[in-house]
């Protein structure tokens, strides 16, 4: 896999994403998701909320990296918190 020029952070990044997808699949098989309406303006399933969470995490990280001198860990913290809120009440 040398040609893909892996680094430790990207390996961790993709492993976490893969683990999330696998986990979501297992969860879906165990108890299928029902579309519901939370604080978001649209009715969503669990998968939708995960997608929204990941996409907003990407934007949060970009904002923090690009326009603030803050640490990336802060961005990660905010993203995880936001994703959890989304998954529970979104």
């Amino acid at each position: 896999m040398e040609w893909m020029v892996w680094t430790t952070p990207t390996t961790i990044f993709f492993s976490v994403i893969a683990a999330m997808l696998a986990g979501m699949t297992a969860w879906e098989v165990a108890s299928p998701s029902i579309e519901r309406k939370g604080f978001l303006p649209i009715a969503t399933t669990r998968g939708d909320r995960l997608f929204i969470g990941l996409l907003s995490a990407a934007y949060i990280h970009l904002m923090v990296v690009g326009f603030t001198p803050l640490s990336l860990w802060l961005a990660l913290g905010i993203s995880v918190l936001w994703a959890l809120i989304l998954m529970r009440w979104g």
């Binding site: 893909m4 020029v5 680094t7 990207t10 934007y59 690009g66």
Partner: protein, 294 residues
């Protein structure tokens, strides 16, 4: 009645999944890997972390390119969608005229993008091009290599010429699928032409329009060959769109790290806009259905 659940058909998408993995997912992962490193060659590379992202997000040239890109995509959509619907409504419905018009309308879609660029490049030349020459004869100093306004208008015109047929074709097929009974009911109610359009044709066109608008948005947002051939991004950088900035960086200067970071940002923008758009329209439809049932 007992319904048997059988999910084995899912295995049938396996070949597609493999294909997508090799054509899209693995390359995308490689891009992510490049974006955090400074790659010189196969053996020499340094981990740079988020440096490229910071640099790209604060690059004024790229900011300008992003704004230009949005301006272009929105302009093109605002013209092509209404125009496409209009053309579809005017197209004859049966007989040899229908086939003839269909072929004529489809023609621009069959031309490869760089050829479209070349056609328009010649078409707009002041000395031998029909459009360029005529405009000059009429007294307008038309020059796409010197005037940004001319270059912009020409690119928009070119895109409208090339891609309105797609919207028109999609809408035409959408219109054909409306059962006659709807029109008969409208006639009984003495509905006006506008009412027929607003309450029968337009709602029935939503699905094809969603596809058409999404395709046109994504495609115009990634436009490359046509402006590249027509204006080369000029005059100055007035028609340099995102993909061209990216190509200059990645191929021209071999800056793999920064261009990887930039591609990811580009990808995220397309992903967000397409998703918001898709969700909004799908939701509109759901609401419409609920109202219909109530």
């Amino acid at each position: 009645m007992h319904k048997v659940q059988n999910n084995r058909a899912w295995w049938l998408i396996l070949p597609m999944l493999l294909l997508v993995a090799f054509s899209a997912i693995i390359p995308l992962m490689t891009v992510v890997n490049y974006s955090v490193q400074d790659v010189f060659d196969a053996n020499t590379r340094y981990f740079t972390g988020t440096e490229w992202f910071r640099e790209m997000l604060n690059d004024p040239d790229l900011h300008a390119a992003v704004l230009r890109q949005f301006a272009f995509s929105l302009t093109v959509l605002a013209i092509e969608v209404p125009l496409g619907i209009g053309i579809a409504l005017l197209m004859p419905k049966k007989g040899w005229q229908a086939s003839a018009v269909l072929i004529l309308v489809t023609m621009p879609l069959l031309i490869p993008w760089n050829v479209v660029g070349s056609i328009w490049q010649i078409f707009t030349r002041g000395d031998i091009g029909l459009m360029g020459w005529s405009l000059r004869e009429l007294g307008y100093e038309y020059n796409i290599t010197a005037s940004p306004v001319d270059a912009w208008l020409t690119i928009v015109l070119m895109d409208v010429w090339h891609w309105t047929p797609l919207i028109a074709l999609l809408c035409y097929s959408g219109l054909r699928s409306i059962p006659d009974a709807y029109y008969q009911a409208a006639r009984i109610d003495r509905a006006s032409r506008w009412a027929v359009f607003r309450f029968i044709q337009l709602p029935k066109l939503t699905n094809v329009l969603v596809i058409g608008i999404l395709l046109r948005f994504m495609h115009s947002f990634m436009i490359y060959a046509e402006p590249f051939v027509l204006t080369g991004g000029g005059p100055g950088s007035s028609t340099t769109f995102l993909s061209q900035s990216l190509t200059t960086m990645a191929i021209g200067q071999q800056d793999l790290g920064p261009s990887a970071a930039f591609s990811l940002i580009y990808f995220l923008i397309i992903l967000l806009v397409s998703w918001v758009f898709y969700t909004a329209i799908m939701n509109m439809q759901k609401d419409n259905k609920k109202q219909g049932e109530a």
